[in-house]
């Protein structure tokens, strides 16, 4: 279920503007990989290119190769829609569909696949996903109420449940806790620790302590200046990055000298 991602010399463009340049990395399955770096360094852009979400912006394109278990995600025959069905995503701000109930939200992705599932099966999938997102106990009595009635942290876990209900091979998280309070953040971080047993997890975060807490591998991105493309500076075991980084820029960033 969980798959490995390999980027080979990936450039990402918005129209003529090169946002990210020459990223090569391997993201291991059943582990948490964190992307850190200052604002505008291209870490979110790179994350969004992993499931081709950056293509939502007109004119976006990539050069280079991006392999999911050896399969090129940007091969001409590949439909971005299918990529996104395999690689789930959780956003910065919780975004459950406001017009759907909690249960409908969880099942939204499955409905897209036009899978005909029985009501009993749907209940089962919803319960499994909500348990997986550690939300079941809190919402089991109000599955038919709107998802927007939950607290921010619960909404974010609902979004995680919605993503894992699709049984993706990779789960991308774009600053999933930046809009949440510390207690909700803790709940999500605990959840990430559990989820990595089943999924490849990639998380973008502004919070270095968070990267240190939850990730196994950390990648540091940086830019030379505004208007310049972002680069991957270094990537290593999280412990190494936070104790003995190879690059001066990484050390400066994690010790708070800039960013």
């Amino acid at each position: 279920m969980s798959k490995r991602i390999e980027a080979k010399n990936l450039d990402i463009f918005y129209g003529d503007f090169k946002a990210v340049e020459g990223v090569s990395m391997i993201i291991e399955p059943r582990a948490v990989t964190a992307f850190i770096g200052p604002s505008g360094c291209g870490k979110s852009t790179f994350l969004r290119s992993l499931n081709r979400m950056h293509e939502v912006i007109p004119g976006a394109s990539v050069k280079g190769e991006l392999l999911l278990d050896g399969e090129d995600l940007y091969a001409p025959a590949v439909d971005p829609v299918n990529v996104r069905r395999q690689i789930g995503m959780v956003f910065q701000r919780p975004n459950p569909f406001p017009t759907m109930s909690i249960k409908e939200n969880v099942l939204a992705g499955l409905k897209l696949n036009n899978k005909r599932i029985s009501a009993a099966e749907a209940d089962e999938v919803a319960e499994e996903a909500l348990r997986g997102a550690n939300l079941w106990e809190e919402v089991k009595n109000r599955l038919d109420l709107p998802g927007s009635g939950l607290s921010g942290g619960q909404q974010q876990r609902l979004c995680i449940a919605r993503a894992i209900a699709m049984r993706p091979s990779v789960l991308l998280m774009d600053e999933p806790c930046s809009a949440l309070d510390p207690i909700s953040t803790l709940a999500i971080e605990d959840l990430i620790g559990t989820l990595k047993n089943d999924y490849t997890i990639v998380i973008v975060t502004h919070n270095m302590q968070q990267a240190a807490r939850v990730s196994d591998t950390t990648a540091f991105f940086n830019i030379a200046g505004t208007g310049q493309p972002g680069h991957l500076i270094e990537m290593d075991d999280t412990k190494t990055i936070f104790t003995t980084p190879n690059e001066k820029a990484t050390e400066d960033y994690i010790t708070g000298r800039f960013g």
């Binding site: 701000r93 569909f97 017009t99 009635g149």
Partner: protein
């Protein structure tokens, strides 16, 4: 801390001791906006009062009184026109709403930006055409152009109750009228829908796309549910215009006081507004009261339609995304 000490030492800085300055701008604006709000009620009440007062004689006069003047009883006189009003507006909506939503979606989610703004401008221009021009075009050009369609429908689909032969020889039928009305209400529905579609939060669109929705699935999942209330209001505004449209209907429709579901025939139910316009110039006495009573019925219909729309929107308020 230092500020607190400072305040204690210098009481003239204390907030409570400085008298509030009267803010003229605030007062003027409050007055203006309150006045505008009240004016709406006053105007509406005045219109309703006028209608009721003037309609009263026609509503209370006995059928014999009306019959003696050759008009027939009020309710059987007004019924076909009320029917015609709702029926023509209904068909106008049937034709206009899908097209309007389609254009709005094209502008908001499909068209390249430059084409989108041009198209939006053209649509808004349609709203600027006076209804008398639509009437002339509908009666002289469009009706004649559609006449062969009427004949075809009557010949080949005549078994269907809507297309009962004989077909109108001029094309000035309910079908033509509704199509003209549809064109007239298209701009308002389109531009309102477009605005609502454009306001769909990016977050929700991305949520759908990230789940692997195609563009159309994303629209069904994120855009339409979010825009639901807006679409209903847009449709209601269009419906309001279709119900009240006078000139174009009076010029295009060859109407009479009949109730008929056939939309291509020679005899079509006229609308209240058109009937008033056509008969008012040479009306006198009780006849005027009767026409105004017709107007009162139209007023009530529009009010009922609007309340229905509000109710539809409110029914699922918890799921509207407003919270």
């Amino acid at each position: 801390m230092s500020t607190a000490t400072h305040t204690r030492q210098a009481p003239e800085d204390d907030l409570a001791l400085v008298p509030a300055k009267p803010r003229i701008g605030d007062k003027v604006f409050t007055g203006l906006s309150t006045g505008a709000g009240i004016a709406i009620f006053v105007i509406l009440a005045a219109v309703a009062l006028f209608l009721i007062a003037q309609a009263f004689p026609a509503l209370t006069s006995t059928p014999e009184m009306l019959q003696s003047r050759g008009y027939g009883p009020f309710w059987s006189w007004v019924a076909p026109f009320a029917f015609g009003t709702v029926y023509s507006a209904f068909w106008a909506l049937v034709f206009a709403v899908p097209v309007a939503i389609g254009i709005a979606l094209f502008i908001s989610h499909y068209a390249p930006r430059r084409l989108a703004s041009g198209l939006g401008y053209v649509i808004d221009l349609l709203a600027a055409v006076p209804s008398v021009v639509y009437g002339l075009w509908g009666a002289n050009t469009f009706a004649a152009a559609l006449q062969p369609l009427h004949a075809w429908l009557a010949t080949y689909l005549g078994w269907f109750p809507l297309f009962t032969p004989p077909a109108s020889g001029t094309g000035r039928s309910m079908l033509t009228t509704s199509l003209v009305l549809a064109v007239m209400i298209l701009p308002i529905i389109t531009s309102l829908c477009r605005e609502v579609f454009l306001q769909t939060p990016k977050l929700h669109e991305e949520a759908a796309l990230a789940l692997g929705a195609t563009r159309w699935e994303m629209i069904c999942m994120a855009v339409f549910p979010f825009a639901r209330a807006g679409i209903v209001s847009a449709v209601m505004l269009g419906l309001g215009r279709a119900l009240g449209e006078t000139m174009a209907v009076a010029m295009v429709l060859s109407g009479a006081g009949v109730i008929k579901f056939d939309i291509i025939g020679q005899q079509n139910p006229n609308t209240i507004a058109a009937t008033i316009a056509l008969n008012f110039p040479d009306a006198s006495g009780l006849r005027i009261n009767q026409l105004i009573a017709g107007g009162l019925i139209l007023f009530v219909i529009t009010l009922a339609v609007n309340m229905l729309a509000r109710w539809i929107v409110r029914r699922r308020a918890a799921f509207s995304g407003a919270n």
